[in-house]
């Protein structure tokens, strides 16, 4: 660090001390409070405005969508649009949402548990070949999902399980990155002494996992499950490849089918937009309510 040789470079007057909880207030050479916060607001506007646009667009019918200013409310058609979305093809949209919810929750809860168990074993047990097995997990982390989707389809068609829910439910259980995260969490949250004490008291390894290890790792489990949920909810290529039956589709593929209809038939456009809005609401709510968890997950994933 060569900071000691620096001459004074501060150009602006020290900014007023922010009333933060941070102990040391560092006054800015990066321009004023104004510049920094203005840039932050600009960045956030870029992130937020497309979603806001989606909301405004969902209040319009086809004519207003093309005819009125983007961020103005048109003839209020919001509820009409919602009804149209819900009634199309005898409630197909709700079916898609339920499918998405089922696939994602299944992957999150069961797949998360499988990952947590494996990560816990890698952290707490000693066995031969541990490093090699963990190496295999890491290779799994590095293989792009989309590169395995077609091979999975090819294999699934051998077993005749394409176009069934198993073609989705089995792959969504596989989460190598979850194993990696779980190992980090197990090391951080579950002290070896506690397990040793349980062992001395006569608890077997399975019992001590379910009654001690798992409860202690609960925040990690929730985090892994949350990311798994989002991953499955957002997955597009796997269901696109595996499923043909509209009754089985998740909402991501369903909406893309409507988008296909909307090219020749513009009256589908408001439904695509409103359906998109409805389909992101569960995830938005989950993220807002579970802030603590995704932040900790991102930390654990990057620091180690």
């Amino acid at each position: 660090m060569s900071t000691s040789t620096m001459s004074r470079t501060r150009t602006s007057a020290p900014a007023p001390k922010p009333k933060r909880r941070r102990p040391v207030a560092r006054a800015g050479g990066l321009g004023s409070t104004f510049t920094v916060n203005a840039l932050l607001i600009l960045g956030c506007a870029y992130m937020v405005l497309p979603v806001v646009w989606l909301f405004f667009a969902s209040t319009k019918n086809t004519a207003d969508l093309y005819g009125t200013a983007a961020y103005a409310l048109g003839e209020p058609a919001f509820f009409e649009n919602i009804m149209a979305v819900l009634n199309q093809d005898g409630g197909m949209f709700l079916r898609w949402m339920a499918n998405s919810m089922f696939y994602a929750a299944f992957g999150a809860i069961l797949g998360g548990l499988i990952s947590v168990m494996a990560g816990y074993a890698f952290d707490k047990f000693q066995f031969r070949g541990k490093d090699s097995f963990f190496g295999i997990v890491l290779v799994g982390v590095l293989i792009p999902n989309t590169a395995t989707v077609l091979p999975m389809y090819l294999l699934a068609s051998v077993f005749g399980i394409t176009n069934t829910i198993w073609a989705i439910l089995i792959p969504v259980l596989c989460n190598p990155f979850g194993v990696y995260l779980a190992r980090v969490y197990s090391a951080a949250y579950v002290p070896a002494e506690t397990l040793e004490a349980a062992r001395v008291d006569g608890a077997g390894p399975i019992r001590s996992f379910f009654s001690l290890g798992l409860p202690m790792m609960m925040p990690g489990y929730i985090t892994i499950a949350l990311f798994q949920f989002v991953g499955v909810w957002n997955n597009f290529m796997l269901p696109l490849v595996m499923l043909q039956d509209q009754q089985l589709l998740p909402v991501s593929v369903g909406i893309s089918i409507w988008q296909g209809y909307s090219i020749p038939q513009p009256e589908f456009t408001p439904m695509v937009i409103t359906g998109s809005l409805l389909s992101i609401i569960p995830l938005l709510l989950a993220f807002i309510m579970l802030q603590r968890f995704w932040k900790s997950g991102l930390t654990a994933g990057s620091v180690k």
Binding site: R26, I114, Q126, L138, L150, C174, Q259, I288, T299
Partner: protein
């Protein structure tokens, strides 16, 4: 973080820990128990990753040949590496790789640079309302790729888009969906989806920078920018290299956004990127063997790239 050079997981198979009983130190922490905990994961892993990849490798060495006029049974015969040669000689596949490379060149600096700048701004002493900014910047990550692509497809479409009409009133007419603009337009979608996620990763790393060091630098007269470049940046390099690794792997997955956009414009062909090429081979050209070969090539590219990134970043750290 990752030290193993990625190799093909073809030898993984079932976990055989069960037989390795000798290694146990005390009862309940040894191989048998570990096998109990690891079997579910490795069974799924074998079913959902190893077996499909092996099967795809096998398929990629065969080809279906229709006899005579195309009626009758198709014959399957061993053709060695011919499928790979055909894929690699296909102009559209190679074009897709070129496009993907161009996409990386544009996307990685924009996204990582943007995330770094935003995280540093958020970490600056004078930044306000950090919690709110974190939540807002993370918002796009809660939007599925399909929906993100749909939203932006509309935001690129003249007549619907507020952006296009704003530019037009400013006298600029720009078609986001034409041949020149389509690549930057798709890069923008990916930047929108992933910047916030990485801002949070980098910001958390920045928060872990010891405040005493920054205070010392401040006493020595370093301004905020100088402190950011000479102190914060080197200290968050590990987080930055993890981001690079996952970003590079992520770019090879590119499929959802161009597939959605391809319905809105003819600029995106059905074989625009390698993943779309493989999908097209399987479902439109019905050549499963070529699709298998293409998938294996994509997985190999991912292996080579992530090996390169880990090599590069571990050398940087040393």
């Amino acid at each position: 973080m990752v030290t193993q050079a990625p190799t093909k997981p073809s030898i993984a198979g079932q976990p055989k820990i069960r037989t390795q009983r000798k290694a146990r130190a005390m009862s309940g922490t040894g191989g048998r128990t570990a096998a109990l905990f690891l079997t579910p994961f490795f069974t799924i892993f074998a079913l959902a990753m190893v077996a499909p990849v092996i099967y795809a490798i096998v398929l990629s060495f065969f080809a279906q040949q229709k006899s005579g006029l195309g009626f009758g049974e198709a014959k399957t015969s061993f053709v060695g590496l011919e499928n790979y040669l055909q894929v690699l000689q296909s102009e559209s596949f190679v074009g897709g790789i070129g496009r993907l490379a161009l996409y990386c060149l544009l996307y990685i600096p924009c996204m990582v640079g943007g995330a770094l700048a935003f995280a540093l701004l958020m970490d600056a002493a004078v930044a306000r309302a950090r919690k709110l900014f974190q939540l807002l910047v993370f918002l796009p990550h809660a939007v599925p790729g399909v929906i993100a692509a749909l939203i932006w497809a509309y935001l690129y479409t003249p007549g619907v888009s507020p952006i296009v009409s704003a530019l037009e009133t400013g006298g600029i007419s720009l078609n986001f969906l034409d041949n020149q603009m389509i690549l930057p337009s798709i890069v923008n979608i990916a930047v929108w989806e992933w910047t916030g996620y990485n801002v949070i990763v980098l910001f958390t790393a920045l928060q872990a920078v010891p405040r005493e060091i920054l205070e010392a630098a401040r006493v020595d007269g370093a301004g905020e920018i100088r402190a950011a470049i000479s102190i914060k940046l080197p200290l968050i390099l590990p987080a930055l290299s993890v981001i690079m690794l996952f970003t590079v792997i992520g770019t090879l997955q590119l499929f959802t956004e161009p597939s959605i956009i391809s319905k809105a414009t003819a600029s995106v062909t059905s074989t625009w990127v390698p993943n779309m090429w493989a999908y097209d081979a399987a479902f439109n050209r019905h050549n499963l063997n070529q699709a298998a070969a293409a998938s294996i090539i994509i997985a190999l590219m991912a292996a080579v790239l992530s090996w390169a990134v880990t090599r590069f970043s571990s050398r940087n750290k040393a």
